[in-house]
């Protein structure tokens, strides 16, 4: 057996974040599910032809459909993009080796930033395409940036909140199936509960659920739909703190085969 360690003496190595790590991490995030957001944007232009919810001649039909699709479907798609972010490490037992080299929470945040950045790009691209194909301007004052910003809030706030909820829940048992099931459960509950609240005394609660823009018309304060989005972002931030706490307990990553 050959042992040819050239430099036997140890010297302090700088633990930086080299560019190649960012590229490695980006590559590790990408999967076939990354094809779903562009597919969703494509559906915005196809669905109005087949769904008779709106007047097919409504000039704003694509703008409305974009927001409906983004608010209702993007959180679900985000689940499929974010739940697997640490799943491979959990399944293959490599978290200890990762943790000894970089904080796992930092890697999770990095991977999450890739996903959310990717989604942001598609929301903007979808909005720009709709803007280009819609007359009159969908924003009453013709402010394109405001309209795109609202789209980002409508799409990303519930997506991030649901993703954080699923990620937190899967980190407790370390099982991605739990993350999928509970995330999907919360999404379904929001879908199912909304019709029951629409006519009742508590209809304003709809403003604080995942789909506040879609449901705003059934509340007393339809212009306040953005309040719920901020609330979802705050919840996402709080859940991130919980994840930080869970991921700094590195003893949980160890596969206990002996003791």
């Amino acid at each position: 057996m050959m042992v040819t360690m050239k430099s036997i003496q140890w010297k302090a190595t700088r633990r930086n974040w080299p560019l190649r790590l960012f590229l490695f991490e980006l590559r590790r995030c990408i999967s076939w599910t990354w094809g779903l957001p562009p597919l969703l944007i494509g559906m915005v232009f196809v669905l109005p032809r087949y769904i008779s919810l709106y007047d097919s001649d409504d000039p704003l039909r694509y703008a409305l459909m974009l927001r409906y699709c983004l608010e209702l479907m993007l959180p679900f798609i985000t689940l499929t993009l974010t739940v697997p972010l640490l799943a491979r490490e959990w399944q293959e037992g490599t978290l200890t080796q990762v943790a000894l080299r970089k904080p796992v929470f930092a890697l999770l945040v990095l991977r999450l930033l890739y996903v959310m950045g990717y989604l942001t790009i598609w929301v903007i691209v979808g909005s720009l395409i709709v803007l280009a194909s819609t007359r009159p301007h969908p924003e009453p004052h013709g402010n394109s940036w405001l309209w795109i910003g609202q789209n980002l809030g409508i799409a990303l706030a519930p997506s991030l909140c649901l993703a954080m909820l699923a990620q937190t829940l899967l980190l407790i048992p370390g099982n991605s199936v739990v993350g999928y099931m509970l995330g999907l459960g919360v999404w379904l509950v929001n879908m199912v509960v909304a019709p029951f609240l629409q006519g009742g005394n508590y209809r304003n609660i709809l403003l604080y659920l995942l789909f506040s823009w879609t449901q705003r018309g059934f509340t007393d304060r339809p212009d306040d739909w953005w309040q719920g989005k901020w609330l979802l972002l705050v919840i996402a931030l709080l859940l991130m703190l919980v994840q930080w706490k869970l991921l700094t307990d590195e003893g949980r990553f160890i596969r206990q085969s002996e003791e």
Partner: protein
Amino acid sequence: MQTTSQPELKTSNLPIHIQGVSKRYGSPKKGRLALDNVDLSIQPGVFGLLGRNGAGKSTLLQILATLLVPTKGRVQIGPYDAVKQREQVRELVGFLPQDQGFYATLTVLETLRYLAALQGLERPDIHIAEVLDAVNLRDRARTRVGALSGGMRRRLGLAQALLGNPPVLIVDEPTAGLDPVEQQRFRTLLARLAAQGNRTILLSTHIIGDVATIASHLAVLDQGKMLFQGTVPALTEIARERCWSWRTTIARIEALRERRELLISSLHPITDDPEASPDQVIARVIGEQPDAEAVPVAPTLEDGYFSLIGVSEADSLNSVSDRKNA
């Protein structure tokens, strides 16, 4: 990370000092005590940590690797405290856990490149070439990890632990589950790494052959307590004049074993005497001379270990009966 403000260590030969370390899993009252007030001093070279399954070896190693925080006590690796200066300690330590996971779809090279990138190593390709040579896996660099044999996986595990040339190497049960040829290959590899690198290698195992062949010093853990620490010959000496080769029958052995009057180190059937009855065996026993026919034999490390562990069992039985009597 914090290394820029710390003095750069230019030397290997880093000792490890463990003082009064306890680790309890679960609640302070009802939780399981995995380590109980362990003191240990480890000097450079190969240091063996022996103990049965559940003795607390892995817990101790995980504390040294900074993955677990001790409930009580202090661990110092080189100049750094393993709890308060965790990041600095992580730069000193390479860790091969017992149940090492890998990204099965990556190749050996991709795995090491990714881990080197995580580690922030400069000139990673040079480091990777060195460790692949060290563990003799260069010709498997482009093989998927999922296609490697168990022995090769262990060597890849060692390669990742060696990335960055850490002066302290912690390996947990590296030869468990390997065939004898791979076991011997791995032992030789560790011995050479220790000899060439002036490293401190802490080898945890329940396979006494691992320690007997490459370690100069060792410690024995049992039920979370440190039973012994010293040299390999010192542990062997525990069984001096207490080790016997005895031609007897299985029935007598069982009777003595039930009364816990002696420890059986090994049993061999008698093959060179056609007149021997089927239940006759040559027993290697540890303790008082069991019979006038038993002849003394030179003890091995295994005898010393069994003798020590056996004493520990007897002590615990006595203490239980003492408590009952009280």
